[in-house]
């Protein structure tokens, strides 16, 4: 098995963005995931979001751990540096990368095994550290590369492919992210591009820790009757409480918000998340609301999706550490080395 480059051939009339780039310029190499894998839809949504935001791809760093989801970054943003690290440890590698250069956009791509099983510790800690990054979990409740074992997000009572019932409680990463202090929290479905693309755009624009749990069915090992992560189950049980639209900073606002129905939240960079809530009493700025809404829907057997919590302007790791404005990896010898005179003074203090 080797890497298959994708043909660069495309229709000459493809629309271009502000950078003069087409959608195709944001693609990666040919996917080697199973045909119909939800993760490829997540990748396509990332491509769409970056294209629409006119992000220069080389200013994005994409990092992942190990697993099907972690292979996915190879298949999008071919002009970005990528790092396929160690199983469950993408958060710490991203923390280091971010510390080194605060000016890039960090996109972490992970899965339910990578984040909720082996990497649960690093996941919890990167959230509470408020790293400025977008963290996407392509969640299918199963291990793909090792052939279909249940992961820690598989719901209790659901049936795995071999017929075995899951008896352990499933971990809900959205609830965990909320209680650990994430400042942008959403859940979506890989099959719902209309919902997912604006959520990814919002996450990429958010200054702080943005988390999106994307239900992304595994067509090979977890798409059968009895699964709670199959395409059919999710289409039947998805409940969107709030729909969000992302309006970039520079674009002309053509549709005015409708008072009482829509609500605009200004992001750090001046862009807007325009929200439409089916329940007007839902307050997006309260963690407790999100947590109880998730709980209520879970009890009804529904999967709550959409943007669930947003706290723009919260401080993130670099601000908490009070690092200089210049990226640390650009500091010069002169800015870093105290020199021989200082050392001579220090020698005196050790006598």
């Amino acid at each position: 098995m080797t890497c298959i480059p994708k043909s660069k051939f495309h229709h000459p009339q493809l629309p271009v963005n502000e950078l003069g780039l087409t959608y195709r310029d944001y693609e990666g190499s040919m996917s080697t995931l199973c045909a119909g894998c939800g993760h490829d839809s997540v990748g396509a949504a990332v491509v769409q979001a970056c294209f629409e935001l006119s992000l220069p791809a080389h200013r994005i760093a994409k990092l992942s751990g190990i697993g099907c989801s972690s292979k996915a970054p190879t298949y999008f943003l071919g002009k970005s540096h990528g790092f396929n690290s160690v199983h469950g440890r993408m958060p710490s590698v991203t923390t280091g990368a971010n510390l080194a250069n605060k000016d890039l956009i960090y996109l972490g791509m992970s899965g339910d095994g990578d984040s909720a099983s082996i990497g649960l510790g690093q996941f919890a800690h990167v959230v509470r550290r408020k790293l400025n990054m977008s963290y996407i979990v392509a969640n299918n409740g199963a291990y793909g590369l090792t052939k279909g074992q249940a992961s820690a997000t598989a719901d209790r009572g659901s049936i795995m492919k071999g017929g075995k019932e899951v008896t352990d409680e499933g971990i809900d990463l959205v609830s965990l992210a909320l209680s650990m202090g994430a400042t942008y929290v959403a859940r979506s479905f890989s099959g719902d591009k209309e919902q997912l693309v604006p959520l990814i755009k919002g996450a990429l624009s958010h200054q702080g820790f943005a988390f999106i749990d994307v239900m992304s069915p595994c067509v090979t090992f977890n798409n059968h009757q009895g699964s709670t992560k199959s395409y059919d189950y999710l289409r039947d049980h998805m409940e969107s409480l709030i729909s969000a639209d992302f309006i970039p900073h520079k674009s002309e606002i053509t549709v005015q918000s409708e008072p009482g129905v829509t609500q605009d939240i200004f992001m750090h960079d001046g862009s807007i998340m325009r929200l439409k809530a089916t329940d007007e009493s839902y307050d997006l700025s309260r963690r407790s609301n999100a947590l109880s809404a998730i709980q209520e829907h879970t009890e009804k057997g529904e999967v709550l999706t959409g943007l669930l919590y947003l706290e723009p302007g919260a401080s993130h790791l670099h601000e908490n550490l009070n690092t200089v404005d210049k990226p640390l990896n650009e500091l010069s010898y002169k800015e870093l080395c105290p020199g021989s005179d200082v050392l001579e003074e220090l020698n005196k203090s050790f006598r």
Binding site: A61, H81, G82, S85, S92, V93, A100, V324, L343
Partner: protein, 616 residues
């Protein structure tokens, strides 16, 4: 019956205290006073893995000749301030030695010895009368016995007052209170006992411009000078003070004057896996990054070390070794992580190690490790130990050459990427210069060129995923070529042949250095002469191989059970195991002179009987 030990500037004194009673700074004051008398001194903390209440010792060797290693055996003077350990402390005194203790509670009959001089001073009672709050009484008791020692050993009182005013710069009330406590012990000793004792001190000038500093402080400072901007870490004894020092010096030297913002980022992570993950991420992204840990942390970091080796990411890891395996002896010293570090991680991995032996090398090797890591694009592991890291050592002053600049290794910038000719392309793992080291790019450098995917899975020269066996082997062979290049870049061994062709050699590394001059002097007196080689890095250079080839017998002296350096030498250089004799000491205390001398003599005495390559 007492035949008192008589010596000038040559003795071992041991302080016995209860941990958590504030004795550390007083004992440090004593060591500094000896140092300021111009006499070589080597103090050692012997402490339990505990916060408060258990016995702790501080053993100070004072030696005019500059022997800094542990002498081994008993001590000349004991200052006994811990009722729990009195019996052991009395027993530790050599015949003719001196036992100073707090006689507020007189020494029990059964503990008394008639072959040593027992000096009782009621420190608790003196402090009770002098100071009115409990905390002061406890703290200043420590200062009072230092004062008594000043009288008993004839240390200039002005040396102490000078040190106090330097330590409490500007805080007059502290200087006064400490001086009062010093005088309390000094005056009592002077008027009660004939001063000085048979053991005494005289001013000297052999210390010269040397400094007194612990290895971890020097390592932390080396990371500042080496340009480290990112540190991910997790607390673990005995490495914690490396990061504490880095933090302290960075806060002092790396804050942007205009804004108060920091030119560094230090994050205490949730475990050692995350700590090294941060270092890998930061290094991948073009910052100089490091972490410090000890044995258990090395085990946890192993998977990541394999990734860094295979994905070719520079990083600096300072391993301050302690007693293993498992939790082992967290507060005792050993050199037992050699193999775990040289071959850390699954699969075929080999790492670059350096072995500092003194604080100057801790500083130099740490600072240089960043150049080395970036040149070689691989982890550099600095193998310190608790003995070096957590004790003060007489060291050459630290030096920095301002003409130096950082060597960032083979990194292409945007302009260089633009200059790549039409029809050619950037290939991350292409060995352009035939030294095994390829060119890399930092993320975000160029909008069209230079992006690649970093992975722990196999890839071809263009960084594309592959499971093709030939391409995998091609890459692995290049990595070993790079490892051989490393042997030419790391610190070379220190070889001493005295211009003589001795048939026997000693091979050692790290803190074992402290006992070598004294051990070889002693062996010479018995008619045995050796050449010596101090290893300072792995992979081994040709010099190392030549030294081993040119000697009939080599004593490999180290502080672990399994003779790990011997294994590494035999394994890497294919040298004859029968001529590599193990001299081992691994009880958690630093190797003493007698272990080296005794071990070698023992082997030489039995050499005719067997040629097994063993020495006890």
């Amino acid at each position: 019956m007492i035949n008192p030990i008589q010596s000038v500037n040559d003795f071992v004194i041991k302080f016995a205290n209860v941990d958590g009673t504030g004795s550390a700074s007083a004992k440090n004051l004593f060591a500094k006073a000896v140092f300021n008398m111009g006499v070589p001194v080597s103090p050692r903390n012997i402490f339990p893995s505990n916060i408060q209440g258990l016995p702790t010792w501080y053993e100070v060797r004072v030696n005019q000749k500059g022997y800094l290693g542990r002498r081994g055996g008993g001590v000349d003077i004991v200052v006994a301030m811990n009722p729990q350990s009195l019996a052991d402390d009395v027993a530790a005194v050599l015949p003719g030695g001196y036992f100073l203790y707090d006689s507020t509670n007189p020494l029990a009959k059964h503990l008394q010895r008639d072959d040593i001089q027992i000096i009782g001073i009621p420190f608790t009672e003196l402090c009770r009368q002098q100071f009115n709050n409990t905390k002061q009484r406890m703290l200043f008791k420590n200062v009072a016995y230092i004062g008594a020692l000043a009288a008993l050993l004839d240390i200039d009182f002005e040396v102490f007052t000078g040190l106090l005013s330097k330590q409490f710069n500007g805080k007059e009330h502290l200087v006064t209170a400490n001086t009062t406590a010093l005088e309390l012990g000094y005056v009592y000793a002077k008027k009660t006992f004939p001063c000085p004792l048979g053991i005494r001190m005289e001013k000297s000038d052999v210390v010269g411009d040397k400094i007194l500093i612990d290895g971890n402080t020097a390592s932390g400072l080396g990371c500042v000078y080496g340009g480290a901007t990112v540190c991910g870490w997790y607390p673990i004894t005995p490495s914690t003070s490396v990061v504490e020092a880095y933090t302290r010096f960075s806060e002092r030297m790396r804050v942007e004057p205009a804004t108060g913002k920091k030119r560094f980022g230090i994050v205490q992570m949730e475990d050692e896996l995350a700590a090294i993950g941060v270092v890998i991420g930061a290094s991948w992204n073009g910052a100089r990054a490091f972490t410090a840990t000890s044995g258990p942390g090395i085990s946890l970091m192993s998977e990541f070390l394999g990734l860094a080796y295979f994905a070719e990411i520079p990083l600096v890891l300072i391993n301050v070794q302690r007693g293993g395996p498992s939790t082992g002896m967290p507060t005792r010293t050993q050199q037992s992580d050699l193999l775990a570090c040289a071959y850390a991680s699954h699969g075929d991995t080999k790492h670059v190690l350096t072995f500092p032996a003194n604080p100057k090398e801790c500083f130099d090797f740490s600072a240089d490790a960043f150049d080395l890591a970036e040149r070689l694009q691989t982890p550099i592991i600095i193998m310190s130990d608790l003995e070096l890291g957590m004790n003060d050592w007489l060291s050459e002053p630290l030096k920095w050459d301002d003409a130096k600049n950082y060597d960032r290794g083979k990194v292409l910038n945007a302009e260089q990427l633009d200059n790549i000719k039409e029809g050619e392309k950037f290939s991350r793992y292409l060995d352009v210069d035939n030294d095994g080291i390829c060119y890399r790019t930092y993320p975000g450098t160029h909008s069209e060129k230079g992006a690649f995917f970093t992975r722990g899975t196999s890839r071809d020269r263009h960084a594309l995923y592959t499971e093709d066996g030939d391409k995998y082997v091609d890459n692995m062979e290049r990595l070993i070529k790079k490892h051989r290049t490393a042997a030419t870049l790391i610190p070379s061994p220190i070889i001493n042949t005295d211009n003589a062709q001795h048939k026997m050699g000693v091979v050692y590394y790290g803190t074992t250095e402290n006992v070598i001059p004294e051990s070889l002097d002693k062996l010479q007196k018995q008619g045995f002469n050796f050449n010596s080689m101090r290893l300072r890095g792995y992979p081994f250079s040709d010099e190392v191989a030549d030294f081993i080839d040119s000697h009939e017998t080599l004593f490999v002296i180290e502080q672990n059970r399994d003779a790990q350096m011997r294994i590494l030498l035999i394994n890497e250089l294919d040298c004859d195991p029968r001529k590599m004799i193990r001299i081992l000491h691994y009880d958690g205390m630093a190797i003493p002179v007698q272990a080296v001398v005794g071990g070698i003599l023992n082997h030489l005495g039995t050499e005719q009987g067997s040629k097994t390559g063993e020495a006890s």
